[in-house]
Structures are given as C-alpha cells and as structure tokens.
C-alpha cells in the first residue's frame, strides 16, 4: 500500500505538470512576462556593451531563468479557479502537495528548456571555455535555480484570488524589485553595507553566483552555500504555498 501510494503520488505530480505544460506554456501572460520581458531587458542591457557582455552574461542568464521559471506558477491556480477547472482537479486523487509540486515542476521545466538554449547560445557567442565540471555546476545550478524560482511563482498565486491579472500584477511587484537586488548588474564583491545585505536576501543572487563560477571561474559566495540557499528557499516557498492552499481548503475554495 505505501509503495503504491508513492507511485500514485509521483504519477499525479507528472500528470499535473504535463497538463500545465500543455495548457499554460503558451498563454499570453506567460509568454509576455516569462519570455519577452527578460528578452527586452537582456537586449537593453547588452546593447553597446559588447565589451562587458562576457562578464554580464552569467547574471543575465540567471535573470532569464528567474523570469521564465517564475512566470508559469502565478497564472495556473487563478486561471483554473476562474475557468472552473480547479475544483475538479482537486477531486482527482491528488493532494495539496501534489498540486503544488506538479505546478512547480511545470515551471521548472519551462525554465530549464528555455535556458538550456540561452546558455548554449551565450556560451558559443561569448567564447567561454568551460570544463566538464563547470558544465556540471551550471547544469545543477540551473535545475536548483529553476525549481526555486518556480516555487516562488507558485507561492505568489497561492493566497486566494480568482483573477489572473491581479495575481500577475502582484507577482510582478515582487519579481521586478528582486532582480535589482541580485547582483545581476553589479558584481556582488563590489557591494558594501545595506546593498550587500539586500543582495544576500535575494535567491537570484545565488544563481548568479553559481553561473559566475561555472562560466567565469570565480565567485563571491561558496558554491555549496549557494546551492544550500537555493534548496532552502525552495523548501520555504513550497511549505508556505502549502499553508496558504490548505487554509483555502478550510475556508471554501
């Protein structure tokens, strides 16, 4: 029985993720805030700065991961509530946990798929020479970062709302400030005082740092510490989302 339950558990996570991928990857708000927006930011920062791009790219790539991975989560639950599919989804053999993890996996895969392309293109364009270990570091960091940011996206949608545009607005209010305190545009090592503390508070910082290490060969924060922070914040985001969703199930829907 327990093994069987675990199987059902994993299967429903996979099915929820599959459903999300089929339905939500191509929704306009996801394409807009997940893909076009960071692309414009990327272009804005790279225009006329070809000299710096070599050092800027790891940060920009991390920003891309952040935007893409966190764009799906805020949309799904409000959209399903408004479309009237949410209650039926809950009626399947799923729990709050499988719902959250399914949505997180969908966002994570979106982040990974798009950023593998971006990273590959960047590595070719800006001529990094990376060893196998460094590729491994980048790959693991990408997965951890995408999971973490996707979890943040899911968390942003979990306090009840049935209006997707409100949630998108709220999520952007959280997402935009975060990219400015993440050492994307300024090297972490050069920051002092409050700015430095702020930078340590943003989970994006730790992905920028890991990408720096993988692509440029040096980083301000130890790699394992950075990974630990990404994993730790993922756990916090998932648990918070769970608390909110559970509370909603008590209150009504």
């Amino acid at each position: 029985m327990p093994r069987n339950t675990l199987l059902i558990y994993l299967r429903s996570i996979a099915l929820i993720a599959e459903k999300d991928m089929r339905i939500y990857y191509t929704k306009p708000p996801v394409l807009m805030f997940g893909f076009l927006f960071p692309l414009f930011m990327f272009l804005a920062f790279s225009l006329g700065r070809s000299a710096d791009l070599h050092t800027l790219f790891p940060g920009l790539a991390a920003m891309f991961v952040f935007f893409v991975a966190s764009s799906v989560g805020p949309l799904i639950t409000p959209w399903e509530k408004r479309a009237g599919t949410y209650e039926r989804l809950l009626s399947f053999p799923v729990t709050v946990n499988t719902l959250i993890l399914g949505d997180v996996v969908a966002g994570m895969l979106y982040g990974i798929i798009i950023n593998v392309i971006i990273l590959a293109a960047g590595m070719a364009a800006f001529g990094y020479s990376v060893s196998f270990t460094e590729v491994l570091i980048i790959a693991i960091s990408l997965v951890l970062g995408a999971f973490c940011f996707s979890a943040l996206g899911v968390l942003l949608a979990s306090p009840a709302s049935t209006n997707p545009s409100n949630v998108m607005l709220l999520s952007n209010l959280v997402r935009f400030p975060l990219i400015f305190i993440s050492g994307i545009f300024v090297p972490i090592a050069s920051l002092q005082g409050v700015a430095r503390v702020a930078v340590y508070c943003s989970p994006i910082t730790y992905l920028v740092n890991s990408f720096d290490l993988g692509l440029l060969g040096s980083a301000a924060i130890p790699l394992l510490l950075g990974w630990a922070v990404l994993i730790g914040s993922s756990v916090v985001f998932v648990l918070l989302a769970r608390t909110f969703l559970r509370r909603n199930l008590m209150k009504g829907l």
Binding site: R11, K19, I23, E87, R88, S91, V94, L249
Partner: protein
C-alpha cells in the same frame, strides 16, 4: 473505523462552519454499496458543502468521512481513487479536446494508455460526442461540456460516483441521456450519490432520498416510505361553477388544511376516499356543478415542502 462491510459511504458527525453560518450541522448517515442515493434540499441547504467534504475537496471542521472503509482525512489519495466526481460548478479544460480531457482524467486514476483510450472512445460514443471527440472543448455547448465532464468522471469505472446537480440547466435530451447513464452505471454496481433540486428526478431515479435543510438532515428513507410518512399531504382538489361557502366541508372532520388557488379548493386529508364522498354529498345538497375534481396522492414534493418549510418556520 469500525463499520458494516456493505456501507460504502459512512458519514459521522460531519460539520462545517463558514464564519457565523453553520453550512453543515452534525450530519451522520451511511450509504450501502450499490445504492442510488439522492440528496435533496433547497438552495443553500448545504448539499454542495456536504458533497465537497465527502470528496475531500473541503476540509470538515468536525466529523469523519470514510469511503469504502478508507478514512478521507487520513488517506485522501486512496479514498479518492475509488470515486468519480462531478462537482457543481465545474468545467473541463477548454484548451484540450473532448477525448484529451477524458483520457487525462483516466490517467489520474492510473489507467493504462490503451485501456483509457478505448474506454474514452466508448464513453464519448455513448454520450453522442464521437464526431466531436477530437475538437477542442472551447466551442462546445453547455450540455456537451457537461457530457464530457461526466464521461471524465466515469472513465475509470469508479466504485462510488458523486454528482452535484448533474442535470441542472440542461435540455430534456441531455438530462435523459445523463440519467440513463447514471442508472446504467448503478446497475453495473457503482454506488451513486447525487444532489438535486429536481424532486421528480429524485423520485424516479433514487433508491433512497435524504432531505437536508439548513445544514441538518431532516429525513432519510425510500421515496415511497417518505410519501407514506407524509400521508397528510394527500389532498382532494375541487372547483364549483358558482362561489360557495365551503365551511361545511372543512367542518366534516376529514380536512387537515385548506388551500385556495383561484376558484380551486385544495383539502388536505388523511382519508381522500371519505372526503371525496363528503364533497359529492355537499355538492348534491347545494345543487353545485363540478368544474374540477381530483384526488392527489402524497407526492415527494409535498414531503419536501413540509419538511423544509416546517423547519424554516421553527424558531
């Protein structure tokens, strides 16, 4: 939880409050395997809230639910694996095709690809959707969407089927189609729990009916026995060609209650036969001509009205 083997739905002390409102108030009952159970109640009585707790969508404030002997709170996934659920206000994914929706549902219950594809095709054919099965649901009518929804809930041949107002707002053809399939599933062994406003539906479809009012279960029995228990809701309805004082009939001792609608009188009685004879004698004496005369048996509707309004008027 200790229970008899054939009770597939067991509810004990189920309670749900929303702020000051007690939507479901300490309900306990059980449904034996294979029964077609109808849950009747006026708007806001707590039907949807009850069904949501039975299906693990809403967390109860108190009480236990067990489905097929499995506690819903402790093992939600195992409990839900046995059910098919059609929520009240719910939709299928309009972005997917009819078949994709049914297949997705089946896969949630662990059906294998091939089995789920075959079963989906069969169901969509039964629901007269074969020629549209590969169209996105986006363009479907309300009744077609509801049929896709029900097909999705039946795909894994559930042991227990929960339906919250499955036929409300649909045309007669869709209603009949859906009722026929509910009955067919029930004949094949699926226990059915449905809520409805439609008393005739409950009367003709259900083995047993529970009436809920203001969150409390006020009556539960077979439709026939409920009607029996409310014998006083039998009535004699008459209309005469000229206005008359009917006080004499009312004083006959046979009439429990009188209602007037237009030129018609309705006398509620425990003994329609004796009252009919009394009315004939009365008309004879006064040289009145009947323009209408009928004897009405107790109907489930009368039971429903008596039960729910009786409660409503209590302090």
């Amino acid at each position: 939880m200790e229970q008899e083997r054939d009770e597939i739905i067991a509810i004990n002390g189920l309670t749900k409050r929303f702020g000051a409102i007690t939507a479901v108030d300490d309900i306990s009952f059980s449904v034996p395997e294979g029964e077609l159970f109808g849950f009747l109640g006026p708007n806001g009585a707590g039907k949807t809230t009850t069904i949501r707790m039975l299906t693990g969508i809403l967390t109860p404030d108190a009480g236990e639910v067990s489905i097929g002997g499995i506690d819903m709170q402790k093992h939600p996934i195992a409990a839900k694996m046995q059910m098919g659920i059609i929520p009240e206000t719910s939709n299928v994914y309009i972005e997917l095709t009819a078949k994709q929706n049914v297949v997705l549902a089946g896969r949630f219950y662990g059906m294998h690809r091939k089995a789920v594809e075959e079963r989906s095709d069969l169901l969509l054919q039964q629901f007269e959707l074969s020629d549209r099965k590969d169209d996105r649901v986006e363009g479907f009518s309300k009744g077609m969407k509801q049929r896709v929804l029900i097909a999705s809930a039946l795909v894994h041949i559930p042991k227990v089927l929960f339906l919250d107002e499955p036929t409300s707002g649909l045309d007669v053809h869709s209603q009949r189609l859906i009722r026929a399939i509910i009955r067919e599933m029930n004949d094949a062994g699926t226990t059915v729990f449905l809520t409805t406003h439609n008393i005739e539906e409950a009367n003709t479809l259900c083995d047993r009916v529970g009436i809920i009012n203001r969150g409390a279960l006020t009556a539960i029995d077979t439709p026939e026995r409920l009607k029996q228990a409310f014998k006083e809701t039998q009535s004699v309805e008459v209309a005469f060609d000229t206005p008359t004082d009917i006080g004499e009939i009312e004083r006959s001792g046979l009439v429990n209650r009188t209602e007037q609608a237009g030129d018609k009188w309705r006398f509620y009685t425990d003994d329609p036969d004796a009252l009919a004879k009394c009315v004939f004698a009365f008309a004879e004496r006064r040289k009145l001509s009947f323009t209408a005369f009928s004897i009405e048996g107790a109907s489930l509707e009368d039971v429903f009205v008596t039960v729910t309004e009786g409660k409503a008027h209590a302090p």
